[in-house]
Amino acid sequence: MTFKEKAKIMDEGAVQKALTRISHEILEKNKETKNLAIVGIRYRGEFLARRIVENIKKISGSSVPIGILDITLYRDDLTEVAEQPQVHETHIDFDISDKNIVLVDDVLYTGRTIRCALDEIIDFGRPVRIQLAVLIDRGHREFPIRADFVGKNVPTSLKEAIEVRLKESDGKDEVVICEKDDR
């Protein structure tokens, strides 16, 4: 199945502004950074998380710990996927107990990834609160999960796909909407 690009919905400036706003909102909602920690979901969530941590440092002057989650081992479709996904490391080298965790991912869609991430985080300890920040919320939830911080809400059809491209992994920052090419 191939996808053809339909429209660019965010460019570099828009991605940057959205992340700056999300960083401010995280600080506003959590008041202090003392117990704050940012956890990105591999892959692109990790890069977004790093940028948010940097923004928070610029705005508030304090460094908050960052963690990286690889949710492969918690997936609920391992027996159904066509190819065994590659497993990568999870890095959380701080105690998450009593922390306010902000999970970061690029696109929020069915909510299944977030379900995995929540299960995995809870295996590391008992955080006070877990919040969710995403760059794009495209709807079509299959679980009762919502984001606390959203870069952009993008109503989509199931035939469409959202592609987030970031400098760290793809050479440039942009978000495009693609459509299934049926031909």
């Binding site: 892959y43 690889d70 081992l73 918690y74 391992l78 027996t79 066509a82 190819e83 065994q84 590659q86 497993v87 990568h88 490391e89 999870t90 890095h91 299960d119 995995e120 295996d123 590391f124 300890g125 992994s169």
Partner: protein, 320 residues
């Protein structure tokens, strides 16, 4: 973003049958699984609902416990059967025993057997994945993999790495798995031991043979010291234990000529004072206990890969 090697094999029978890419995939997967064992909750739900049976026809503590912990940390259910307590002594054949286990809808069978090739026989006979946990003097793939993983972790790359395997090469499945894997990944392998314990034509596997321990130590980045299997010594394969210690025992004195960052490895259990002196076994060069830690991660990776394998020729008629 990452190189794409897809695991397609139903079974893990030996390193002989794997490509360099497949071995690399196992090693990369192992690195990720290693982290799980450092968590407070050392368990992930990945293999929930899978059943794993370990069938051990030879005594083993380390390998059996390591496999069992690996399975449990992946949330699989495990049953262990050891020869002493099973009906194999009532005259049931290996194949019948395995067919019965298969009939209980098991997903993975881990087999240790004194006959070389026993896991291959099983792999053909039954649908569950078969993992070789040591067959005769043939292969012990998970030990080979954990040795290679430990070397890669400590030394970065296997390419051009000089590994000397010391001791009873002839009876050692660990040696054979090491040689297959190391050669595929580009290491230089030397085997060293009494001539009676070096198999004829071992050079055909691409290794160098020497009977001079000092020479084997001098050039080596890694010494993988094998256990002298005292139980086999009834056949008098060398004149005396004392002579063996004098000629092939690794001690501090002999290590004076070694590279400063040499790694000392041993598959365990150690005969202290025979193949290794205690001061070497406990020295800063020794990574023997790290090998044990890595063993669990390697076995987790293997269980994950074989239970999720798809496509590929060796996996026909796999149930969904």
């Amino acid at each position: 973003m990452t190189k794409k090697t897809v695991w397609t094999k139903k079974d893990l029978l030996g390193l002989e049958y794997l490509t360099a890419e497949e071995i690399e995939l196992i090693l990369d997967t192992t690195r990720s699984f290693k982290e799980v064992s450092t968590r407070k909750v050392k368990k992930v739900p990945t293999l929930r609902g899978k059943t794993i049976v370990s069938l051990f026809f030879e005594p083993s503590t380390r390998t059996r416990v390591s496999f069992e912990l690996a399975a449990k940390r992946l949330s699989a259910d495990t049953v262990g059967i050891t020869a002493g307590t099973s009906s194999i002594l009532k005259g049931e054949t290996l194949k019948d025993a395995a067919k019965n286990i298969e009939a209980m809808n098991v997903d993975v069978v881990i087999l240790r057997h004194s006959t070389s090739g026993a896991p291959h026989l099983l792999a053909k006979a039954i649908e569950p994945s078969v993992i070789n946990a040591g067959d005769g003097a043939h292969e012990h793939p998970t030990q080979g993999l954990l040795d290679i993983f430990t070397m890669r972790e400590k030394k970065g790359s296997l390419k051009g790495l000089k590994v000397s395997i010391i001791g009873d090469i002839a009876h050692s499945r660990v040696a054979r798995s090491n040689i297959w894997g190391l050669k595929k990944l580009g290491a230089d392998v030397t085997v060293c031991g009494p001539s009676t314990l070096i198999p004829l034509e071992i050079e055909k596997m691409g290794v160098r043979v020497t009977n001079d321990l000092d020479e084997a130590i001098k050039s080596a980045d890694v010494l993988n010291v094998l256990r002298i299997q005292l139980e086999r010594q009834k056949k008098a394969l060398f004149p005396s234990i004392r002579e063996y210690i004098n000629l092939f025992g690794v001690n501090k004195e002999r290590l004076k000529n070694a590279k400063k960052d040499i790694l000392i490895m041993h598959p365990g259990p150690i005969n202290r004072g025979i193949e290794l002196t205690p001061d070497v076994a406990d020295s800063e060069y020794s990574v023997i206990l790290e090998q044990v830690t890595n063993g669990i991660a390697v076995r987790m990776a293997i269980l994950f890969l074989v239970t999720g394998a798809t496509g590929g020729s060796p996996r026909e008629g796999r149930k969904k």
